[in-house]
Symmetry: C2
Subunit: 328 residues, 2 copies
């Protein structure tokens, strides 16, 4: 590793599930985590943007922890790094902050630690840690990413085992994220889900999931209100994510195509068309009982995915130095 080696990586926020596409799809948002890093005498972080206290603390930092973990598993040294972090992604809100942080750490390990991992290796490692591929895929590729873990029931993900497709987001669609004040831990939000589902609930959700992907593929925004409904997770997460009580009414504000819990919540994702009015939405949110605790973020969708500088040499999947993947 050269002393002067440095790397920059820019990764988008992602909103997974979109209602019916539970653990299936995520869409990338034009809110970014930007990290630049180089080797240093000791670990330091200079943080700007949102959540600077959490982002600027080296202890337990997910970027640095991932970087160190991956290199330790590969039995390589993990030299201290000086990081500059600019973060626009709300933490703990269901906007893919952990997927972006893990992918940032993986990029640092690959570039500064000299790992010969392919992009598929990075995605497999991050998927295994996240427990599902949706945020990771959309964060890396941009757009609406659809992904499946190929081998049902396999004990560990392998790099070749994630099948992915990216559907472009239709022109003219944009997003709004409605944030409450307090975050929810993904693990807690997952604990409220049942272990079993009735066939009718599964079929209704499968239909909406298919319709959601088709709505993005055909640009038919009128389908989203139905397609962003589900019977797998949103009905159970209402107790942890009270903003869901307003989803139905918000979906009827002019210009709003559909509303769903963003990831495991507690934020809501709104998909908007060109007729949507920020002031109308802000006025609506201002009338809610918990208005003082709410924040609306309006943004475009991210259509590019991860930006890495320097661009790594292409590495074929299946190179000699394989990632060590955790048991799932």
């Amino acid at each position: 590793m050269k002393e002067s080696a440095a790397v920059k990586v820019r990764l988008p926020a992602t909103s997974a599930n979109l209602g019916s596409a539970f653990d299936v799809a995520a869409v990338a948002l034009d809110l970014h985590l930007e990290v630049s890093a180089q080797r240093a005498e000791q670990c330091t972080i200079h943080a700007t943007g949102r959540n600077t206290a959490e982002c600027g603390r080296p202890d337990g930092n997910l970027i640095l922890a991932t970087y160190a973990h991956v290199l330790q598993d590969a039995r390589l040294p993990a030299p201290p790094l000086a990081l500059r972090v600019h973060n626009e992604i709300p933490l703990g809100m269901g906007c893919g902050s952990s997927a972006a942080a893990r992918l940032a750490g993986l990029v640092l390990a690959r570039t500064l630690g000299g790992l010969s991992w392919s992009d598929e290796d990075l995605l497999a490692w991050a998927t295994a840690r996240e427990g599902h591929p949706d945020n990771v895929a959309a964060c890396w590729r941009g757009g609406l990413s659809v992904s499946a873990v190929e081998r049902c029931g396999a004990p560990a993900a392998s790099p070749a085992s994630i099948a992915m497709a990216t559907v472009p987001v239709p022109a003219g669609w944009s997003a709004a994220i409605l944030l409450p004040r307090h975050p929810v831990l993904t693990e807690v939000s997952r604990d409220v889900l049942p272990q079993h589902y009735e066939r009718a609930a599964v079929v209704a959700t499968l239909q909406r999931c298919g319709l959601l992907i088709a709505a993005f593929a055909t640009g038919d925004g009128a389908l989203l209100r139905c397609a962003m409904d589900d019977r797998m997770h949103q009905p159970y997460r209402r107790v942890l994510c009270p903003l869901l009580d307003h989803a139905e009414a918000l979906s009827r504000v002019p210009g709003v195509l559909g509303v769903a819990l963003s990831g495991a919540g507690p934020a809501l994702l709104l998909v908007l068309d060109q007729t949507a009015s920020r002031s109308a939405l802000e006025k609506y949110a201002g009338q809610l009982p918990d208005a003082a605790d709410l924040e609306f973020l309006f943004c475009d969708f991210d259509r590019r995915g991860a930006q890495v500088d320097p661009t790594p040499e292409p590495i074929l999947p299946g190179s000699s130095e394989r990632p060590v993947l955790p048991e799932r």
Copy 2:
């Protein structure tokens, strides 16, 4: 109704489910049911094509029964018809023969019985009778049709309650249907399914369903092998549809993108690319233990859907004369 009034309708075969899109999607095949009808002194059927014995028998004929049923429900007379039926759709094999027959009967009732039903009314009636919208939607619209019953848990479908999208089938993809000798009743094939599913099985199927729609939308045929797998119905239908035991091996024949049970079976749908060889597939089938009972039908996908002559006057949904829909 004019004495000389006559109508022709041409409807494609459809293959529903495609593995993971269980009760969600169907694709239209270039095998057709063609019906021409005019008023007559008594009901007669002149049948050509496949299954002429069943198609030519007026008693219990699904086309005539639908025609009569719909007009009776609307308290209108159902004059006897002389039908000419040319059928290319295998009956009882999971190729959408009942959806095509019902839609044919509905078109006859609308045109010859003078019903003022919109296309949405026809689709809602046929969906309520079929129990799911997938074959009906693909039969009417062609291509890969994705559909959802909008109001979860509503006691009866209403015309406005089916949301649909049509994704074109990628150029260069074609189909093969592998037929065993004996049909299976859809009801029997549904009885073997469990009432409840584990969350992991549901998530794996949702992921594949999303991937399937994305594979058609992006033309990425390499995704189909994974996407046409499922944990909702195919594992349970193996006992009734023994051809499923060969699906995995068939999916690895060069040029085969994916294999799934066609509808509720017992036929298999193979999606092929331009490198597929009919002779290689026929040779493969010829080596199976039950080879003497098998038939391969090779066909294009249907990209046009229902063809009706004369084209009906456009009728707005919500006209005065509403269809009487059965309880679901």
